[in-house]
């Protein structure tokens, strides 16, 4: 496992070392069309966000972003090459061009946005760090965790935010840092740590992987802001716009009530917002080098944001996460997309 990780890192470093500087930028759109598939970096298996189902097809909220981009660019949501990356590999893989889009429950932070040569294209999920503890411990709040051993996955913002939280509250803890989320769950189940910490969305996904999910509880405290979103390389603004507006198209579709079921009827809608989104009134894909039906393809093949949320992480899924902060702006949440105009 770790050998593979280093191989990928070395190979990526080698690409940066040896390839000419001129090939670095731009032309992601042309390359994608020529290849006929979007190179999309996803997680190493996180149910609800990106994980292969029983038939080996990738499913999840993050995977739907890959599919939406493929639908917008190539007209076929299935034209995606999924590349599974762990937390440490992900940025190097994007920087070196191994993937063109990283959609892997990645937190948007200043350092990542400004020093790695990357751009965050939006927020697919507003998350925060939470704690999962064994029910036997009888703990009801994060302020009772002084002295606990905590299992964390390496290379995540969680490592930093947990250290900050415990220092700010003058408490001690032992970080036990694992390579993959599977090993983190293994350490928690083996009793190596009292607490498993991660983004609350992941906690829900990890909890259902436990041998005895009912033996663990997720504490109500959320100790940090973790906006998760898709990432692209800096310096290719066309590609950046495509990813950004693919997400906005899904959000706008939900706001206007367009679903994968009714999109073919909505095409005839008199509503000017809907007509512009579905390419019946002008071509708003032109500025991105796309056809007029770019958003129609996304909605008909992937669905709107609400559909994707319910199917993958919401009440229609085993994770049963409430919409909460991820509801649309006019329904009490933060999700807000600029208008298509």
């Amino acid at each position: 496992m770790s050998n593979k990780k280093h191989w990928v890192l070395l190979a990526s470093a080698g690409i940066i070392t040896l390839t000419g500087a001129t090939t670095a930028n731009a032309a992601t759109l042309e390359d994608t069309i020529e290849r006929g598939a979007v190179q999309c970096g996803v997680s190493d298996g996180l149910p609800g966000f990106s994980a292969p189902d029983g038939d080996g097809n990738w499913q999840g909220l993050d995977v739907d972003i890959c599919r939406a981009v493929a639908a917008a660019v190539l007209g076929d949501a299935d034209a995606v090459n999924y590349i599974s990356l762990n937390a440490v590999e992900r940025f190097t893989a994007l920087q070196s061009g191994e993937v063109d889009l990283l959609s892997r429950n990645t937190t948007w932070t200043t350092t990542r946005d400004t020093t790695l040569g990357l751009n965050f294209a939006g927020v697919t999920f507003y998350d925060g760090i939470g704690f999962m503890v064994s029910r036997d411990l009888g703990i009801s709040g994060a302020d009772e965790l002084d002295g606990a051993a905590i299992c964390i996955q390496t290379g995540t913002t969680t490592e930093l935010n947990v250290a900050d939280y415990f220092r700010a509250n003058d408490m001690e803890f032992d970080p036990i840092v694992f390579d993959t989320s599977e090993q983190t769950v293994g350490g928690f189940q083996a009793g190596r740590c009292d607490v498993l910490t991660s983004d609350t969305s992941q906690l829900a996904a990890l909890r259902i992987q436990l041998d005895d999910p009912d033996g663990a509880v997720i504490l109500p405290d959320i100790i940090s802001k973790e906006p998760l979103g898709p990432v692209v390389r800096q310096g290719d603004d066309t590609w950046f716009n495509i990813v950004k507006w693919s997400l906005f198209a899904m959000l706008n579709a939900e706001e206007y009530g367009i679903t994968s079921e009714n999109v073919d009827e909505m095409v005839n809608s008199e509503n000017p917002d809907i007509a512009r989104l579905l390419g019946q009134d002008g071509n708003y894909g032109e500025g991105m080098g796309l056809e007029a039906d770019w958003a129609y393809n996304i909605i008909s093949q992937v669905g709107n944001y609400g559909e994707s949320f319910e199917r993958n992480v919401g009440m229609g899924s085993p994770l049963e996460i409430e919409r909460g902060a991820n509801a649309l702006w006019n329904q009490g949440g933060f999700q807000y997309a600029p208008p298509i105009r």
Partner: protein, 396 residues
């Protein structure tokens, strides 16, 4: 390479391409220039690529605050320290498990290797079984085995195994009492050092006396008494200036005392046991490389079996053993990077893992990590080559 003497008459200089020495210089200059151009191209290319992609470069990140915790550190470390310090913490943890692993693997390896040649049927078969089992299972699986299969069976913190109410063993690790030294303690290590020096002098004197007169005293036993007895005597005489910080259960875990984390135990055991299987085979082959006539000759002098081994066979076998043994040491140290799989905070896990990902400085971090492993390996090789030269057969 030797240079052919120039037999041409003086005053008649040959053309420079027909002069072997000058030609050699030209070729070496060309090679150096080619390497320099290649390096220049690569470094320039890296800089162009990184700046074209808007990636920050340089080693300035080492001075930034790390902000994450590390579970085991040999030096003082808190999340407020710098990334540079995480490098040191990881490096020391790697050296700790590597150093202790080399010692344990050598001990186990020599014992098993000699046991395999034992005339005792059961002992020899047990040694064979050990070697064939452990060297044929991938190391990563063995690490997982010791970590998840063995340590998982240990009890939780509340039901710890207690040894005399001062040592505790549970799934969180081994908790030992930590000695706290009071004033006047300095005398004890001082006595210890004096006793060691006296013992070395005694052993040398004994050896010389034996060579001169053939008589010897049991100097080894006297030395042991000196080394352990004297400090003990001083300790009692000064009224035991040590208090023990005994671990006790507070909240979730034991606090106080000295903790050996299970990640360390699992990694150390796996590395030692795995490498020892190879070392045992090296030791066996080394001993068998010594012609049987040597053993028979020593036995003919009616030397007991342990002296035959110690004075005749092992000194000669070491010449065969040491070169491959060096490779095993290097393997063990490099294999310690598998620590990242079970969360032991070694250099790869802390620095090439967390620090790399928090800073995103992949090229710098990986280059530093590779340089460290290269340096450690070269130092071990140098030491072993020196040791090999010492034990090598001196030909006259």
């Amino acid at each position: 390479m030797s240079v052919r003497p120039n037999t041409r008459p003086a005053g008649h200089k040959p053309l420079f391409w027909r002069d072997r020495a000058k030609r050699a210089i030209v070729f070496q200059l060309l090679l150096t220039a080619a390497v320099a151009v290649f390096l220049f191209y690569i470094i320039g290319n890296v800089q162009d690529n990184l700046s074209a992609r808007g990636i920050t470069t340089g080693f300035g990140f080492l001075n930034n605050t790390a902000g994450f915790g590390i579970v085991q550190s040999l030096i003082d470390y808190s999340s407020q320290d710098t990334y540079g310090r995480t490098f040191l913490v990881g490096l020391l943890n790697t050296l700790l498990v590597g150093g202790l692993g080399v010692i344990a693997a050598t001990l186990i390896g020599f014992i098993v290797g000699i046991a395999r040649l034992s005339p005792n049927w059961l002992l020899a078969r047990l040694a064979t079984a050990y070697i064939e089992t452990f060297r044929n299972i991938p190391l990563l699986l063995q690490i997982f085995f010791w970590y998840f299969a063995v340590l998982r069976t240990l009890p939780s913190a509340r039901d710890s195994l207690a040894f005399g109410e001062v040592i505790f063993l549970n799934v969180r690790g081994l908790y030992l009492p930590e000695p706290l030294f009071e004033s006047g303690f300095g005398l004890i290590p001082a006595t210890f050092i004096v006793a060691i020096i006296a013992s070395i002098a005694l052993l040398l004197w004994n050896k010389r006396r034996q060579e001169a007169t053939g008589k010897r005293i049991p100097a080894v036993w006297i030395s042991l008494v000196l080394i352990f007895g004297l400090p003990l005597l001083i300790t009692v005489a000064t009224g035991v200036p040590i208090t023990w910080d005994i671990p006790e259960l507070r909240g979730f875990n034991f606090r106080g005392g000295f903790t050996v984390i299970p990640e360390f135990l699992a990694l150390w055991m796996a590395l030692s046991i795995y490498t020892a299987a190879f070392i045992a085979e090296i030791v066996r082959s080394g001993i068998q490389a010594i012609s049987h006539g040597q053993t028979e000759a020593a036995q003919a002098l009616s030397l007991p079996r342990n002296l035959v081994l110690r004075l005749v066979v092992i000194p000669q076998a070491l010449r065969v053993i040491i070169p491959p043994l060096t490779s095993q040491y290097l393997n063990l140290i490099k294999n310690s990077s598998l620590a990242t799989a079970i969360g032991y905070p070694d250099l790869v896990s802390v620095f090439a893992g967390t620090t790399l990902n928090q800073t995103g400085q992949a090229i710098e971090v990986i280059a530093m990590t590779m340089a460290v492993y290269l340096t450690i390996s070269l130092l071990v090789s140098m030491f072993m080559n020196w040791f090999n030269a010492r034990v090598a057969l001196v030909e006259r």
